[in-house]
């Protein structure tokens, strides 16, 4: 039953998004903003895999996001590649970054992992910022949107086509993400979040699981970054900054950590909210900061997390209760400090 309900919901949402070009003029939201929502969701999912499912404070995912954007920008600018190749280049750059940082990040868990993620992620920021000759430094780099593919597929991409490309990538990513977190591999990640020591006692090499999760996460963030760069035709150092990582984490919490739909809802509220508020007031950052504070203090389960918690209480459905998707924040930390 639950599978069918999920499928119906999924199809309904995809159909709704497929009508995006019709809806956007009605609600006065530019289609590029809707593209941004879809693209950003991928980055939020990448944080969700590490933080929501595996329990690792992934505060450095902007590094992979930015590497994706710069991977696309650099290949388009200097190698004149097509759209598909640029996205692949961004993904490769991000995964390469994760391969490089992974061995260091894996050495620690918990809040130390977060600290290492923030610090190491910042390396790429400074490289992009300082290596002015190639990356344009602080000004970032403008680049034209390349044709879609090589040979006969060499057509230019307008805003509507871009939207549908991101929708296709989004659908593929959502299906893949669901498959990953429902697979034995994904279940192991959840088990690592709940009690890593116990997973290790069962004979599983948790380092290897976390490393693979990190690579998948970097891949998603890289594709997201590359598409974002191609969407705005621009790559800039702040995409790599830890503030950006913080925003991804916020979107994840806002929607609901450890839930698939939460990532979409978080990205939707954040991107559209930012678009609306920043046109009204220049003080967008105060609202954003207040949103962080309010979310963490008053709404730690997020929207989807709260709904499924309510539903679990209401239905008393053992299957729902066992599904364990919602990230239980009220659970005491077993090896906590400061309690």
């Amino acid at each position: 039953m639950k599978v069918r309900r999920d499928l119906v919901l999924f199809v309904a949402i995809v159909v709704l998004f497929a009508c995006g070009p019709l809806i956007s003029p009605l609600v006065h939201i530019d289609l590029s903003i809707l593209s941004e929502v879809l693209v950003t969701t991928l980055a939020v999912l990448s944080v969700n895999l590490l933080l929501g499912y595996t329990g690792l404070p992934a505060f450095g995912n902007a590094a992979y996001f930015g590497l994706g954007a710069y991977g696309a920008a650099l290949t388009v600018t200097y190698l004149h590649v097509d759209f598909v190749t640029a996205v692949l280049a961004g993904a490769v750059a991000a995964v390469a970054g994760a391969l490089l940082l992974g061995p260091f990040l894996l050495r620690r868990r918990g809040i130390y992992f977060g600290l290492l993620s923030i610090a190491f992620g910042q390396v790429f920021y400074f490289i992009a910022y300082r290596y002015t000759d190639v990356t344009g430094g602080e000004d970032g780099m403008n680049f034209p949107r390349p044709p879609f593919g090589p040979g006969i597929a060499q057509v230019s991409i307008n805003q509507v086509q871009f939207y549908y490309i991101s929708l296709v990538v989004f659908v593929v990513a959502m299906i893949a993400f669901r498959a990953v977190v429902r697979s034995p591999f994904g279940r192991t990640l959840i088990a690592i979040r709940q009690n890593e020591a116990r997973v290790r006692y069962l004979g599983l090499d948790t380092d290897r699981f976390i490393f693979v999760a990190l690579l998948i996460s970097a891949l998603m963030a890289g594709v997201s970054g590359a598409l974002f760069g191609l969407l705005i035709n621009f790559a800039y150092p702040l995409e790599l900054d830890w503030h950006q990582s913080g925003n991804f984490v916020l979107m994840m919490i806002l929607g609901g950590a450890g839930t698939i739909w939460g990532s979409l809802i978080g990205a939707l509220i954040y991107v559209i909210g930012k678009d609306i508020i920043s046109t009204i007031t220049p003080l967008w950052q105060i609202f954003l900061g207040a949103l962080f504070v309010a979310c963490v203090l008053g709404f730690p389960r997020g929207i989807v997390g709260s709904i499924s918690a309510l539903r679990r209480i209401a239905s008393d459905d053992p299957e729902d209760a066992a599904s364990n998707e919602a990230f239980d924040v009220s659970a005491p930390i077993e090896v906590g400090r400061g309690v």
Binding site: F59, A119, I286, G289, V293, I333
Partner: protein, 290 residues
């Protein structure tokens, strides 16, 4: 180039002393409560701006140097009691996220009150000028900074190792439950500890304002090197933060001299090297965050 070496080395040590004191404040808070205080840089900036406003209203620099950090401490303890405290029982990344939000708000508020651009904040006349050290001359204010930072860190070390309250604080880092069971009010410990961290940030903030300039983001610029300092020095170690800070200061000043473009990246290279040799940092204690 090589006659620049000695002053540049000394500059690096001054910078490193800043990193060390900010890192010590960060790790005090982190060790006891598991809170990574992303708003630490904002408290530095706050103290800097408060000192600027105090001096502008005619108080002496010396008064501002003490008063501004103390006001920042009051703000800090208020924040800790109302906003951070509810998060102690939760996963530590929640407090990281919350303080991150605070720093975003603070930056914008500083911009509203004191303007988006930097404001001039210079050292008093008695401290401007340069002093001759025999083999080189060096700005007096920087020497003064080193003296103040050394005194502050020594006082802190004395407090933590020789006073009853300091001993309780360190015991609570080892085992909060036990110290609570033995009759210490841990909530008071948390509040005082947080205030102590902010006080260090405040002192550093006022001094940094005089040396590195004062703008809404100036404190946050010191936050990232302070994180790297904590990682290199090792969590849970005061001495480690001092060594880590000085190492980074020297690394940055030397690369600035020889390969300017790599000045920021150098500290991350240093961090990667230290972590590959010693995953828990140079002086990290076993058991503090595994």
């Amino acid at each position: 180039m090589f006659h620049d070496l000695a002053p540049q080395l000394f500059n690096g040590l001054v910078l490193g002393a800043f990193y060390a004191i900010v890192a010590i404040g960060l790790s005090l808070i982190m060790n006891l409560t598991g809170t990574i205080n992303m708003a630490h840089g904002s408290f530095m900036t706050l103290a800097g701006y408060l000192a600027y406003s105090l001096v502008l209203r005619g108080t002496s620099f010396w008064f501002a140097l003490i008063a501004a950090p103390l006001i920042a401490v009051i703000v800090g303890i208020a924040v800790e009691r109302t906003l951070v405290r509810p998060l102690y029982r939760r996963e530590p990344f929640y407090s990281l996220l919350m303080t991150f939000g605070l720093s975003l708000m603070a930056e914008e508020i500083f911009r509203l009150i004191w303007g988006p651009n930097g404001v001039p904040f210079s050292a008093p006349a008695a401290l401007s000028g340069a002093a001759s050290l025999g083999f080189m001359t060096f700005p007096t204010f920087r020497i003064f900074i080193v003296v103040v930072l050394v005194i502050t860190i020594s006082a802190l070390a004395f407090f933590l190792t020789r006073t009853r309250f300091g001993l309780r604080l360190r015991a609570a880092v080892q085992d909060t439950e036990m110290i609570a069971a033995l009759g210490t009010n841990t909530q008071v410990l948390y509040a005082v500890n947080f205030g102590l961290g902010i006080f260090l940030a405040g002192i550093a903030g006022v001094l940094a304002a005089g040396m590195l300039g004062l703008s809404p983001t100036s404190g946050n610029a010191l936050l990232m090197p302070a994180f790297v300092t904590v990682i290199i020095g090792g969590m849970g170690s005061l001495f480690g933060s001092i060594v880590g800070g000085l190492l980074i200061g020297i690394a940055i000043s030397m690369t600035t001299l020889f390969i300017p473009a790599a000045s920021e990246v150098s500290m991350y290279v240093l961090m990667a090297i230290v972590l590959s040799v010693r995953p828990r940092g140079l002086f990290g204690e076993e058991g503090i965050f595994g």
